[in-house]
Amino acid sequence: MWIYEKKLQYPVKIKNPNARLASLIIDALGGPDGELGAATRYLNQRFTMPKGKIIGTLTDIGNEELGHAEMVGSIIYQLTRNLTPEQIKAGGLDKYYIGHGAGVYPCAASGEPFSAMAISSKGDPLSDLNEDLAAEQKARVTYDNILRLSDDPDVNDVIRFLRQREIVHYQRFGEAMRSLTE
């Protein structure tokens, strides 16, 4: 089960709204390599894992990814506060706005809604852990891409934190996979 803790894993304090950035960063919530998919992937794969070390790793990383989904949602919320219709149109957020207003809706930057088709749970430890290693790298690349396109220091500070976590998760999943052959 879960208990909510009323804080973010890392603080999100964005001064300037930015429709364009919001329309891109939504990918890190609901895109194919986003945080919602990460949490869903790990928390479902763990049921059939053969070793306590691997179940623990998937449980704790999956749990952390839920916190990251909350952080990305916070970024979107803060970037879309008090936007004018002109800013929404100029920032290319108009297509999103028509369906969702300033609500936080998990979708890719392309507008494709979040889909569990982007994740896998095969009931096979080697297959699942290899997927997890790739998923962490793909999430890291998405954050790298965001950092190339964003010049907002408040946003980039948080994105760098999230990017760094993917590297740590990759490391832990590698160790979890090696424990299969111990």
Partner: protein, 84 residues
Amino acid sequence: MNRDELMNRIHALSFAMTEAQLFLDTHPECRDALTYFREKRDELDNAMTEYQNKYGPLFADMTVGDKWSWVDGPWPWQSGGKED
């Protein structure tokens, strides 16, 4: 410590625990990591108690006083912004 300083300390300690916890998941026999985790947990316990007594609950069941302050803001995403 004021509210922001105390929350920064909670963020730091709780992050240290998360890191140690993930490491321990794949290194459960590491005594150094276990000691580190417990030290941080004790420091975090103290910081959390101080914060929740002064500024409101971080967990619903830590609500103190004669009012259900769990629903009082700010919620974690309601900071930053020009109006703050």
